[in-house]
């Protein structure tokens, strides 16, 4: 189970991995997604589990099936994913960070300064 964790159903993790690849562009729109058997062999999981993961992606409109050829990344999939993730960003990252900062006595100005520092070391734009 290459790199998969214990707590989450495997098919969800498979779908999340594929979504990550689409979001960061390694799996481009219009490109063929890995097949059930390829995913099964790579992650060392049951093919039914791999198929379930792919079906989640189809239901979400991120992949589309082309009969007899395979599954392909839908046009607009990347934008859709990035929009979703922006919406979840506050919940998943900002809120826990602010909570921990409060506990450590880091005030909002100091926190903002830390984010600026981190952004510039990672070469991000500081706008």
């Amino acid at each position: 189970m290459a790199g998969l964790d214990e707590g989450t159903p495997l098919f969800i993790q498979i779908a999340e991995r594929l979504a990550d690849q689409i979001a960061d562009g390694t799996l481009a729109e219009g490109e063929r997604a890995p097949s059930t058997n390829e995913l099964s062999a790579y992650y060392r999981i049951n093919p039914a589990t791999a198929a379930k993961g792919l079906n989640v992606m189809i239901d979400d409109g991120l992949l589309e099936k082309r009969r007899g050829i395979g599954m392909f990344v839908s046009v607009g999939a990347r934008r859709q994913l990035l929009e979703n993730r922006r919406k979840q960003f506050a919940d998943r990252f900002v809120d826990p960070m602010v909570a921990e900062a409060t506990r450590l006595g880091i005030n909002t100005d100091e926190l903002v300064a830390l984010i600026r520092d981190s952004n510039s070391t990672q070469g991000g734009t500081n706008s």
Binding site: P9, S40, A41, R44, N46, P47
Partner: protein
């Protein structure tokens, strides 16, 4: 999917000892099912009855609608690889040839490539093989038979982790290409967890867990930290196990935790860890032992 193996209220008694106690389950066609449990839990007895090598004391077993103990046709559609498989005084190559006569779907190319991968000496006498090599031979036969119903009983005694990985990878590849019904008994639960559609857990002859593997993922979580905080966090949850050390403790509770719970745990300095399938199975067996104990006392 249709069920291919159907076990109904099956019991098996040996001289007053119940090896199987009223076991009921079905196995769907084209699936991989793990048969888990401790030594002496009844796994081998169950597989032997499904394979038709042994009779039930009570209850009914049918495989594709037929009785495995009497159906000749069924025998050719089944392969049963045992942990302690004994072979007559023959060489590895002959053992494979015999197996190829017996199994109509035998794939000799597959057998050859597996022999290569496991480094099996074809000219050596089976009796002279190491334990691991004998297990590898069983695995070659089990996979190359391409039998509709494939039963593996702890097929890897003496196999090292590399060889076991070969087995898992080839099993998956074979299954993906030629789906079949596979029932695999094993101790190495976490190694096979990703392969299994379903798990059946036997304990003292009783079936104590019958579930889809993915449903068991996140079935239990451990919570570690200062005792007071752990107790506050776990209030209202089903506790499976509690292990204190001085002022700290680790409590295993049923169920998974969502984002909100995780954030709360982090703010309380608690560590949450999902439990592996193996741990869930151990708990199921232990809970059954406690029940049995209490029933005996009552």
């Amino acid at each position: 999917m249709t069920s291919v193996i159907s076990v109904d209220a099956l019991s098996r008694q040996y001289r007053g000892q119940l090896a199987l106690d009223n076991v009921t389950f079905t196995v769907e066609s084209d699936s991989i099912t793990g048969l888990l449990g401790r030594n002496g839990a009844g796994k081998t007895t169950l597989l032997r009855i499904v394979a038709g090598h042994e009779f039930a004391t009570a209850g009914k077993v049918s495989v594709d609608g037929a009785d495995p103990a009497t159906s000749q046709a069924l025998m050719r559609r089944m392969v049963f690889v045992r942990e302690d498989q004994s072979y007559p005084e023959i060489r590895v190559g002959q053992a494979l040839r015999v197996a190829s006569w017996f199994h109509p779907n035998w794939d000799s190319d597959l057998a050859a490539s597996l022999i290569d991968e496991f480094n099996l000496p074809v000219d050596r006498r089976v009796k002279k093989l190491s334990r691991g090599m004998r297990s590898a031979l069983g695995i070659v036969i089990g996979l190359a038979a391409r039998a509709d119903i494939t039963l593996f009983d702890e097929p890897y005694a003496g196999l090292d982790p590399v060889a076991r990985q070969i087995f898992y990878d080839r099993l998956l590849a074979e299954y993906a290409e030629y789906p079949r019904t596979i029932l695999l008994s094993t101790h190495l639960i976490d190694e096979v967890a990703g392969l299994l559609d379903r798990v059946l857990v036997l304990d003292q002859g009783q079936l104590v867990l019958d579930a889809e593997t993915d449903d068991l993922r996140g079935a239990a979580t451990s919570v570690s930290g200062p005792i007071a905080a752990v107790e506050e966090f776990c209030a209202g949850r089903t506790v499976w196990n509690r292990r204190p050390v001085a002022t700290h403790e680790t409590v295993v509770v049923a169920g998974a935790f969502g984002d909100h719970d995780r954030a709360r745990a982090a703010s309380m300095r608690l560590i949450l860890e999902p439990q592996t399938l193996q741990q869930v199975v151990v708990h199921a067996a232990r809970a059954n032992a406690t029940d049995t104990l209490e029933r005996t006392k009552a």
